[in-house]
């Protein structure tokens, strides 16, 4: 387990190194002055620029410059947004929780819906349910997400009027900003309308979550189906059959657990894909998250914001990746320790 942790830590370190190098080199690649891109001070006087140049060791070689950039990052200083003139770190802190909320709920929904359906398809392999599920899955991951979002708004918000179409919560509710995660903040607050606010926030969450979760859910469906089919072919399932267990006993006690582990291993890889979908969905549903902010930053040529957003969003994905790796290791002893006698 120690070696496993050390390896993950090593990977994380290396990734962060590459990411910061990438983001640092972006300040040279973006149009305009490199120092201005890095700090976001577009209206700085020559004196202020001189101070900044000194601070970022602009006269020294690239490597020194890079290290001073990294030390700024460690102090939470990502420069100032060119559009709003607020510190990028503050802007991100205000918006990242909304994205975390949307993506993590969507990931859970996708897993809890997709994986059981995939198992179901595998159990009825090459029968009608399997074919129907495969067909639906094919459509599910082929649908362009922006189109799906617009259709969902048209049908469920405008024509049927069941669910709100934009934002995170109705403006009537005033919720104190504690963790930034809306649902948790509401539960922590002592407002008399706590439950109404909670229900309202949940209603706002439903449509975007379904839109984000659809494509990953269909991918999990396929992963789960393949994993289950593989497991059903193994010898220990045959042994269980020979022991005289019924089919459903085998499925519940042996096949499901082992297939589930195989799916969990691939969940991390799908998360980057899910975040991509979430970025577009945030634009459509006016979700106050980091994806919408990043896309707006392009329209406004806010290069400092793009650099900061790239680092933070990628780090978030990596952390989720690593968490899923640990969950996988916790569930599967074979991943933790080298196999004995192998």
């Amino acid at each position: 387990m120690f070696i496993f942790t050390l390896r993950r830590f090593n990977l994380f370190f290396f990734t962060m190194l590459l990411l910061t190098i990438l983001s640092f080199s972006l300040s040279f690649l973006f149009p305009g002055e490199q120092l201005v891109n890095l700090t976001g001070q577009i209206n700085a006087t020559p004196e202020q620029l001189a101070v900044l140049a000194n601070e970022y060791q602009h006269q020294a070689g690239f490597i020194t410059q890079y290290f001073s950039y990294v030390s700024h990052l460690f102090h939470g200083d990502m420069g100032y947004s060119m559009a709003s003139h607020l510190p990028v770190a503050t802007e991100i802190l205000n918006r990242l929780p909304a994205t975390i909320e949307l993506t993590s709920v969507a990931l859970l929904v996708a897993m809890f819906v997709g994986i059981p359906i995939g198992f179901f398809a595998a159990i009825y392999h090459r029968k009608t349910p399997d074919n129907i599920i495969l067909g639906v899955a094919m459509i599910g991951y082929s649908v362009p997400v922006f189109w799906l979002g617009i259709l969902a708004i048209l049908v469920f918000s405008i024509q049927l009027g069941w669910l709100p179409s934009a934002g995170q919560i109705s403006l009537l509710f005033e919720i104190e900003h504690v963790t930034g995660l809306q649902l948790i903040d509401i539960l922590l607050s002592d407002s008399p309308y706590k439950w109404q606010a909670f229900i309202d926030a949940t209603r706002h969450l439903i449509l975007p979550v379904i839109v984000v979760a659809l494509a990953p859910a269909t991918i999990f469906m396929r992963l789960a189906r393949t994993a289950m089919l593989e497991v059903l072919e193994t010898h220990y399932i045959k042994a269980a059959k020979a022991k005289g267990l019924t089919f459903w006993q085998i499925i519940y006690r042996h096949a499901m657990r082992n297939a589930f582990i195989k799916v969990i291993r691939d969940v991390g890889l799908q998360f980057a894909n899910l975040v991509t979908i979430a970025m577009v969905t945030e634009v459509i549903f006016s979700w106050p998250g980091i994806g919408r902010w990043l896309i707006e930053s392009i329209y406004q040529r806010d290069y400092t914001a793009i650099q900061g957003g790239l680092i933070v969003l990628s780090t978030f994905i990596f952390i989720v990746h690593i968490i899923i790796d640990f969950v996988y290791a916790a569930l599967n002893p074979l991943a933790r320790e080298p196999r004995h006698g192998a």
């Binding site: 590459l18 362009p144 048209l154 980057a272 975040v275 896309i295 994905i317």
Partner: protein, 297 residues
């Protein structure tokens, strides 16, 4: 006992022929492949078969619904948009933009990726391990975010988004080529030709590539469905094709404001994207199925 072989000669179909033989078995795949070919024909012939120019305005026929509705006009089969442009012509021209360009994008990144990947497979040690980690990092950044960063460097516009998508797709081809080449290099037939005195490049060209090409094609179909969705998404976000261009994503973005009064301006481009992605995915699915069947035999 049934005789499988009537003739004496032994025939060894090339890996590509074997793939085709297994590929055309399931009927769904053939339908998908037919749709795929149909889209390619549309993309090539788009300017010949469209009734109108995609940017021609018919000011007397604004927001005409499709011909099957009561207010429709049969000379505008799928209706017109808010500037009186014929939807059918725009959709067909869009085929050559969204679908046709996605093929070019995938080809370009396939070639670059295969070159880098085979070079990477031939190197060992620190360089190779660095490249591996680097690819892992790039692959785990969301593709749209990477495309956005590249668009921010190059500036918006259709051509720049294409470059961005090419760069986004390269790592997966590098990854798959590298793994496939490494796997083939451990096999005996490569050793045999090495003992014959072939150098690495000759082995790559004559022994390895014919055996991994189907893996590459199967990855290319996956990449193409992603490319179609990415081109359309960037067009929709206003970072790709400029508004008058009949790119499907940009058309969709143009139709949003009119969704209520003219829903077909949103339905049709979306359906076109869905159709082309499903056709591509069916081809890819058939390809992977054929590969699996071949492996089992």
């Amino acid at each position: 006992m049934a005789r499988d072989k009537i003739y004496q000669e032994e025939e060894f179909p090339t890996p590509l022929m074997q793939l085709w033989h297994n590929f055309k078995q399931p009927p769904v795949v053939v339908i998908g492949f037919g749709c795929f070919l149909f889209l390619i024909v549309l993309a090539i012939l788009s300017s010949l078969i469209t009734p109108y120019s995609p940017i021609e305005n018919h000011l007397n026929d604004l927001l005409l619904p499709p011909a099957w509705s009561n207010d429709g006009n049969v000379s505008f089969l799928l209706g017109t948009d808010n500037l009186g442009r014929d939807m059918l012509s725009r959709l067909i021209h869009g085929t050559s933009l969204t679908f046709g360009l996605s093929i070019i994008v995938v080809m370009a990144s396939l070639i670059i990726g295969v070159i880098i990947g085979s070079l990477a497979a031939l190197t060992k040690g620190v360089k190779s391990s660095f490249l591996n980690h680097f690819l892992d990092v790039i692959l785990s950044i969301p593709s749209l975010l990477l495309a956005i960063v590249i668009v921010a460097i190059l500036g918006p516009g259709l051509e720049n988004t294409l470059w961005a998508i090419i760069m986004v797709l390269i790592p997966q081809f590098v990854h798959i080529t590298r793994n496939a080449v490494k796997e083939e290099f451990t096999k005996d037939y490569v050793l045999a030709s090495r003992l014959d005195g072939a150098n690495s490049f000759r082995i790559l060209r004559y022994s390895v590539f014919p055996n991994i090409i189907e893996k590459l094609i199967s990855q290319a179909t996956l990449a193409q469905s992603a490319a179609i969705l990415d081109i359309a998404a960037l067009g929709f976000l206003g970072l790709g094709a400029p508004i008058p261009m009949p790119e499907w994503g940009a058309m969709l973005a143009n139709g949003i404001d009119l969704f209520y009064i003219a829903p077909w301006t949103v339905y049709l481009p979306g359906l076109a994207i869905l159709f082309s992605v499903i056709a591509t995915n069916l081809v890819g699915e058939g390809m992977r199925h054929a590969l699996k069947v071949r492996k089992e035999n």
